[in-house]
């Protein structure tokens, strides 16, 4: 059933009023940029953190699971406001782009120039392809359910293949000290960090070795399931925070 949308009250501003609203838009853009770099980056660094900081943490089991799962949170919350209230289909892309700006600045100036970690050791992963798809699905479907299922799953499933061109080269095997390891592992051994190889022990748990090439796709599909749920949860968290209530007292 189609709905007749009335355009009776819609009249674009002109003259000074148009300039006022445009000036307000620019102020909000600056505000939003720093808000999402600061807030999403802190959330991300303290939940995904190590998997994004270090090349030798970018494994087959946890990295493709944890990163999209924690990375879909702010995009979902921001989409719930920007799409439903302003019809701007860019909430996810805005968040992820802001995160990338923040992480790149930090990796260069805090890791490389301050503490001399090679930049290849601390390259951030990207979630931009997944974010673009998430925004496009919301715009085309205008549906929370469709976006959660298709968009949430795509966000998780696209993560590993879109990062492989960046990080695949660090997974080539090398022989070192009569043992076989990856270039990423070698970075970890050469640049000693204060607390180290706990994770390298964890990674050899379970049936990882016998599962071989299936480990990464399995982690991605597990992440897809969880991202569907996480997207829905954070949509409502974003909606709740965007309340317009005034209180009598606090």
């Amino acid at each position: 059933m189609s709905v007749n949308i009335s355009n009776r009250s819609f009249r674009p501003y002109t003259g000074e009023k148009a300039r006022i609203t445009r000036a307000y838009d620019y102020l909000i853009l600056v505000l939003a940029l720093f808000l999402f770099i600061g807030s999403f980056h802190l959330h991300f660094a303290l939940t995904v953190g190590d998997w994004d900081f270090w090349v030798d943490w970018k494994d087959r089991q946890w990295w493709p699971l944890v990163t999209p799962l924690m990375g879909i949170t702010f995009p979902a919350a921001v989409q719930s406001v920007m799409w439903t209230k302003f019809r701007l289909p860019m909430g996810a892309t805005l968040c992820v782009a802001a995160l990338l700006i923040g992480t790149w600045i930090t990796r260069i100036f805090a890791y490389h120039y301050w503490n001399y970690f090679p930049i290849n050791m601390v390259l951030p992963a990207t979630m931009l392809p997944g974010a673009l798809v998430l925004d496009a699905i919301l715009m085309l479907s205008n549906s929370l359910t469709v976006t959660a299922v298709l968009g949430g799953a795509s966000f998780a499933l696209l993560f590993y293949p879109s990062n492989w061109p960046l990080f695949g080269m660090f997974h080539v095997p090398v022989e070192y000290g009569n043992g076989q390891l990856t270039v990423a592992d070698l970075f970890g051994f050469e640049y000693i960090r204060t607390g180290m190889p706990e994770y390298l022990r964890i990674i050899e748990r379970g049936t990882l070795r016998t599962y071989g090439q299936y480990a990464a796709p399995l982690a991605a599909f597990c992440s897809a399931l969880l991202c569907i749920l996480m997207y829905t949860l954070w949509w409502f968290i974003g909606k709740w925070f965007a309340t317009v209530r005034y209180l009598n007292k606090i």
């Binding site: 300039r19 720093f34 802190l42 303290l46 968290i237």
Partner: protein
């Protein structure tokens, strides 16, 4: 509409003046510039002295270069918070019921500038210096809660953004009718939630008395910070409140070229 010869001198005179709705723009830009100089200055200080004198808190040089900086920071913050919060409160508008639409629009712009300055401080505290903490503690063993990065991040950046968030909250409460009549829930969430990040420093450092944990930055002892920063999403509600009121106020204005 054509400009008449009588209006011409006025037009020429006001050519370089800011439009009435962004009259606080110069102050806003100066605020950005000042904060940028402060944060970059602190990062350069770390680059110059952290490795040379910030690795061992028992050395006299640590006291001289880092603890002295800590005391100076506390002094500056105490003076700043007293001055700026005191000014905002004492200069409050006592006749808000007589506010003209143009003045109210202008004040909404200024409130947005205050929130923007607040989010700029949140960027430095939540993004740059926060992740830099991981970088530093991967190369330096922590032997004190006042490390070379904590002195900047926990005891300067965190209080500073709390103060600036408080400025935005106070500005709205003392100068805008809707915020004076009722307490805006989203603005309160967006200011008081991130304030809890400062309080979480206590939990974090208490945790570090038991555990070393640098290896795992995403450890649960850091999740207090995470929950605090979720409240920054309240800015969406502030935006909706502001836009709704601005539309009403613009409808009250005459159309102008």
């Amino acid at each position: 509409m054509a400009t008449t010869s009588e209006q011409l001198p006025l037009v020429v005179e006001n050519k370089n003046a800011e439009p009435w709705y962004i009259k606080d723009l110069p102050m806003y830009l100066k605020g950005f510039a000042m904060l940028t100089v402060i944060y970059i200055g602190l990062r350069l200080y770390q680059g110059a002295f952290a490795v040379a004198s910030g690795l061992d808190s028992s050395e006299p040089a640590f006291e001289q270069y880092w603890m002295q900086l800590f005391y100076v920071e506390l002094g500056i913050l105490a003076v700043f918070v007293t001055g700026v919060w005191g000014y905002l409160w004492l200069s409050r508008d006592r006749n808000l019921d007589k506010l003209e639409p143009k003045e109210e629009i202008s004040r909404y712009f200024t409130l947005t500038m205050w929130i923007s300055i607040y989010t700029f401080a949140v960027y430095w505290a939540g993004s740059y210096f926060a992740e830099q903490d991981n970088s530093w503690h991967q190369v330096a063993i922590r032997d004190t809660p006042f490390t070379a990065n904590h002195i900047i991040e926990f005891y300067f950046n965190f209080p500073l953004y709390v103060i600036l968030g408080g400025c935005a909250w106070l500005y709205a409460r003392t100068r805008l009718p809707l915020y004076a009549k009722g307490i805006s829930l989203p603005l309160t969430l967006a200011v008081f939630g991130p304030f809890m990040i400062l309080v979480s420093v206590g939990f974090n450092e208490w945790g570090h008395t038991f555990w070393f944990r640098e290896e795992f930055f995403a450890a649960p002892i850091h999740w207090g910070f995470v929950i605090g920063v979720w409240f920054a999403l309240g800015v969406g509600g502030i935006l909706l409140q502001g836009v709704t009121r601005l539309i009403e106020l613009l409808d009250e204005l005459e159309d102008a070229p």
